[in-house]
């Protein structure tokens, strides 16, 4: 419960702080997380196009990673990645040892199907 009283909040339920949902973190919903092998990324931005959670981080026209504070782990980015599924991989959020190895390999660009 927020302690703000009725005199302090805007009337009529208006929200004046546009886009303040960024303060609400949905990253904790994830059962799976995407990992990113930057080296092989062709910056086609398919992941950005299809991310339902505006959680693909882009700088200077380049995909630079995930907003893991908000990414819900749906895996769409991995599924639409056209680079033989090597650039983005879905792994369990609570990674097992073999998955940790997988994460490292993806991130180092060494992962092979």
């Amino acid at each position: 419960m927020n302690a703000t009283g009725w005199k302090e909040i805007p009337i009529g339920g208006m929200i004046l702080d546009a886009g303040n949902s960024v303060e609400y973190l949905t990253g904790g919903w994830r059962a799976f997380r995407p990992v990113f092998g930057e080296a092989q990324c062709i910056n086609c931005m398919q992941c950005w196009l299809f991310c339902p959670d505006s959680s693909i981080l882009v700088e200077d026209g380049k995909m630079v990673g995930f907003d893991l504070e908000h990414c819900k782990g749906c895996g769409i980015c991995a599924s639409v990645c056209p680079v033989n599924k090597k650039v983005i991989k879905q792994v369990g959020e609570v990674a097992r040892d073999d998955e940790r190895l997988c994460i490292r390999m993806v991130e180092e660009g060494k992962f092979q199907e």
């Binding site: 927020n2 009283g5 009725w6 009337i11 009529g12 339920g13 208006m14 886009g19």
Partner: protein, 395 residues
């Protein structure tokens, strides 16, 4: 310079709308409101207003468009009756809750079923808990004056609530009367321009209107509405004072007619008050100490002031043009509220209810006279034999 015109109540209302020149009107035709919309359409067609007139496909969309336009930052008006208001009902609440200062001319008509196009107050009583300010008008002049004042009341920064201005369907909406129409420029100056504080169309400062509001904040937003309602009563009086100064007519929370030295009084809304005044005069000629109280502001309900104004009486007869089915004694809403107000404020006088005029059934002077004679009897005995009487219904 003002001028006197022979106008039906609806025409007087449409004239007020022309003078107010709202940015948007969204309305749908329904008897007996229709002639307001028609007349206003003429003003639009002739270029006499700047209004964007949205001829919606239903009353639900009328009120929906009004909410959208009001949130956008426009001054907005509409008009309806009975079933139209009932169809709006969902959005009537949203208009108040979103704090949209919409002004509505409500031409009172009986709700279906059976379908009936004539006057009673069942329509407005259905929205009495919706968060709208509700004002009643005895005749075309009052409907005109109240509509002009409603704009100022609704848009007052301490209020920001929608206002419904009522008049009786057909009886005054279509009854031709002498109405003083003020100078266009004077009305324009009185209503001023609307300065919305949080317009949706302020693109640079995006706002979210109408979010999902759960148990952690919804209650606080309702509390804000209570505050606005509480503020409204004083604003109604302030606007009335300014109105009197500018246009000469006096308005308050209610009108007292030969009440101060009366022993019994009738309390009645809208046009029947006019008939009751005639009856009061006749009975006064007989030496009977009778008076009348005609509520103007129904929401917020000025309970303390009403109790005070009636406290010297020996009996009160309320006349209700609708029934609150299943409520205590199957009485009318006005009676229920007034009885509660008197009791709450320590005014212990006998009070009886007379339901009348449902579905446009005529209410004649001799029937009102009977109500007064009943009230005098109650005053004499100090006892209410029958809490609710359904006046003139055939057994």
């Amino acid at each position: 310079m003002s001028k006197f015109e022979a106008l039906a109540g609806n025409e007087a209302v449409a004239t007020a709308m022309r003078q107010i020149n709202p940015d948007v009107v969204a309305a749908y035709p329904i008897t007996p409101q229709t002639s307001t919309v028609q007349k206003f359409a003429d003003f639009v067609a002739d270029g006499l207003v700047d209004t964007e007139f949205v001829t919606v496909e239903s009353e639900h969309s009328a009120m929906s468009a009004c909410v959208g336009a009001s949130a956008a930052g426009a001054r907005v008006m509409t008009a309806t009756s009975a079933n139209g208001l009932a169809l709006m009902w969902e959005i009537v609440y949203i208009a108040a809750s979103n704090r949209c200062p919409i002004v509505m001319s409500l031409v009172n008509r009986a709700l279906s079923a059976p379908i009936n196009i004539h006057c009673d107050h069942s329509d407005v009583m259905g929205i009495r808990d919706s968060g709208w300010i509700i004002i009643f008008s005895e005749d075309g002049q009052e409907a005109y004056d109240n509509l002009i004042q409603a704009v100022r009341i609704a848009e007052h920064p301490d209020v920001l609530l929608p206002v419904a201005v009522c008049q009786d369907g057909f009886i005054t909406s279509h009854g031709m009367e002498r109405v003083e129409i003020y100078d266009d420029e004077d009305v324009k100056a009185f209503v001023g321009t609307y300065e919305p504080k949080w317009p949706l169309l302020d693109i640079e400062h995006p706002k979210t209107y109408g979010p999902l509001d759960f148990y952690d904040y919804y209650y606080e937003h309702k509390r804000q509405q209570v505050e606005a309602m509480e503020n409204a009563q004083q604003v109604v009086l302030d606007v009335a004072a300014e109105f009197k100064e500018k246009f000469g007519r006096e308005y308050g929370l209610f009108e007292k007619y030969r009440l101060d030295d009366a022993e019994v009084a009738v309390v009645v809304l809208n046009s029947t008050a006019g008939t009751a005044k005639v009856v009061v005069d006749q009975l006064r000629d007989e030496g009977l100490k009778v008076g009348l109280l005609k509520p103007r502001l129904f929401r917020p309900f000025p309970a303390q002031e009403l109790a005070q104004a009636l406290s010297h009486l020996k009996a009160v007869a309320v006349m209700d043009r609708s029934i609150s089915f299943g409520a205590m004694g199957n009485a009318g809403p006005l009676y229920l509220e007034l009885a509660a107000a008197l009791a709450t404020h320590g005014v212990h006088i006998p009070i009886a209810d007379y339901v009348y005029g449902l579905g446009g059934r005529d209410i004649l002077p001799h029937e009102i006279e009977q109500v007064y004679r009943d009230a005098l009897q109650i005053a004499a005995t100090g006892r209410v034999e029958q809490m609710v009487t359904y006046l003139s219904v055939r057994e």
